[in-house]
Symmetry: D2
Subunit: 236 residues, 4 copies
């Protein structure tokens, strides 16, 4: 069942937070340990029996990425490419719609995670969801936050807390094809598409996990992931 | 009244998130527009009638900073220095305790803000607070977050939302001298001192603002501040 | 004849001049256009009918490089690996001596060039050389230089001149096996081995070219090469 | 005599070789030890009794530099400013000609050196030179170079040699006012002006030294200077 689920990997993106590194290397091709980010993702998807991949890329990195991954056979998967000029994450899905089926996985190309995609797919089907988001209750936010009573007195303070009542989106979604009608050029999945689905009362579900994901989108998180990989504490 | 309030500026700190820039320039001496970060801070404090400054620095940057700021007269303030080797933010206060009075301001050296410190001091006095934190209800968190009902259905989703019930600490505090007894070497104000004060039932208050602060601790936020300054949209 | 010439590629090296980029990506795996530096080198060698490669690497990058290149079949060549901890370029050859034959090519892993290796090999054989260096009469030096007469008057001045009487070594050598006896741990080919060969009166010859090579060892030269590749002005 | 010599410091310049550092800090304001580059230069000039400075800057850095140096009194010198948009080093002199006298020193803003400017000025006067260049016989070039006999045999090879017959310009010149007539917008002193002076048979002399200068224009040389300063091996 899951084996016919195609994955759309969002592998474009300017990578501004990793500048100037990304002036030399696209985010998906940053090495961590003995592999490149995109290779971790392909292996993870294959381990979850997802072998059909559509790589959504911008013109900047298509040549290098294509040359590196080719048809994916070297990694045991089948890879197609869809190119579009920086049109937002939803715009990239729109541009690739011919290559996508009834149900598909959307995976952010700067995310390393280890959730069970089969179970996520089961939940998606059971709930008859139009859209299922993997969300984590283990991601700390970057600030010190307080709670304040009516008198202005602080009743709670925590530095970089995990706010469990606000689980964090991991950048891994399952979409029904209907969602594509919400995907317009220059729009963003998180900013525009999901809020619109909710506004329209569509069935949007959470696949909740207490594991965290890692995005390699900042130097700090990239360093963190590199440490974890180096110490064999993170096995993808 | 506020004019006798001394300010302790936390100007040390490794600046790892701005690496490799901070391998060449200490955070406090990064230029933005026609001034250095620390100069914005000194001007802001002076505009708020705080003229007595203790600069808490580590041995790495003391020589350059001292040479740049000297006794502060060039900036219309009076500056003393306290050096301690990377001992945490609370440890740095502990090391400087001889230079601090009964009530003092603690200001993080990578923060640019524009709150009214006189009003903050008034609140601190009115509430007979031991510790007052400036907190903002305008700082967006970095993730997309959801709320999920008992069935797992997502009822709310927002990308980079401001969570108003969790106001964010801006790195500007007023402390009574009692707080120093909570400041030990290798401890951190946000991680250790404030939670301990709360645990002991001390009077900790919030000076709440709907303006946001900017920390220049990451390339992204540094860039944001530079844009704001360049476009004259941020006047400190 | 040349087809049995093995090439030893010096692919280790700290890459300090490309720091901080090289903190994230080994020099050989920096992308330029649609390929990685090492891929340009392998293609160039294969185009010159050199199909047997020994990759000399340090422990830092061996895993990633091996995973990327594997046995080389993807690039139409056969690749073996020799690992040694930062022991100098000559030390790395010494460590790999079991894998090297009677005559072999030594190629610096941060060099892109397009000289005719067959002709170089012919020269090497004709001259019965122990060591042949490819040298270029087209590489400008980085300074403004003068010539001065006895009175101190400047008779010549040129900014970044090519000094044709001092042709520049391109980082491409052909060595007879005898040279290995000059290769000790922690010694350098250019600093120690070649001067020693000359001191001992060995037959060291120049394969002279008026084409220039490009090393990608500095940001400036990397940028230059990227521009050339982008504009199709440099075809390797 | 020398005390009426004005110095024109070339403090603009894109600093591309220090990118991305120079995206945040102009070259002249990079800190080394407890001082900024420009402060070393001002101190050095003052120690050589040159107290009148014209700072040639581009619009990008004028505000910050002016705010930092102001009229120079803090550094015991008198500083004026001349702004021109990236017009080349000679173009910048041309733009500043109203501020320059009969004889003046030209000093590159990314150079740290310790030659005796009085002696240089004496030579300039004794030789009745129109232009005197400080040149060093102690600067190694960046390559391995050979000498080759008619048979193609290498007779000399040295890695990063000092070529004493080609002394290197240190970026410190004394000019008579006549030279300004050779300075046009978008021309360069080293590339255009000095060769033209020679072509016209003007009296161009060398002030030769066996000390080397340091330019901080690349990460490698910046690091080298930082080490020297840290170890007190370089006293400017």
């Amino acid at each position: 069942m899951i084996s016919c689920l195609k994955a759309a990997i969002l592998a474009g993106g300017a990578g501004t937070r990793l500048y100037p590194l990304t002036a030399y290397v696209p985010k998906a091709l940053i090495p961590i340990g003995n592999k490149y980010v995109i290779e971790y993702i392909l292996e993870y998807l294959r381990a979850n029996e997802i072998n059909d991949i559509v790589m959504l890329v911008s013109n900047n990195e298509i040549d290098l990425l294509k040359n590196h991954i080719q048809d994916g056979s070297r990694f045991g998967v089948h890879v197609e490419y869809s190119t579009a000029e920086r049109v937002g994450t939803a715009g990239a899905l729109d541009a690739a719609k011919e290559l996508l089926g009834q149900t598909f996985l959307v995976y952010y190309g700067d995310v390393l995670a280890n959730i069970n995609l089969k179970k996520m797919m089961q939940l998606h089907l059971t709930k008859k969801a139009v859209c299922t988001l993997a969300v984590s209750t283990a991601v700390p936010i970057e600030y010190g936050v307080a709670r304040v009573d009516d008198d202005g007195r602080i009743t709670y303070f925590e530095e970089k807390p995990v706010l469990k009542e606000y689980p964090v989106s991991m950048g891994i979604h399952i979409f029904e094809r209907d969602v594509l009608s919400y995907c317009k050029p220059n729009t963003d999945i998180a900013q525009h598409v999901i809020p619109s689905l909710l506004r329209d009362g569509k069935r949007v579900y959470a696949y909740m996990t207490d594991k965290r994901h890692y995005d390699i989108g900042t130097f700090k998180s990239l360093e963190e992931v590199r440490q974890l990989v180096e110490n064999n504490k993170l096995l993808f």
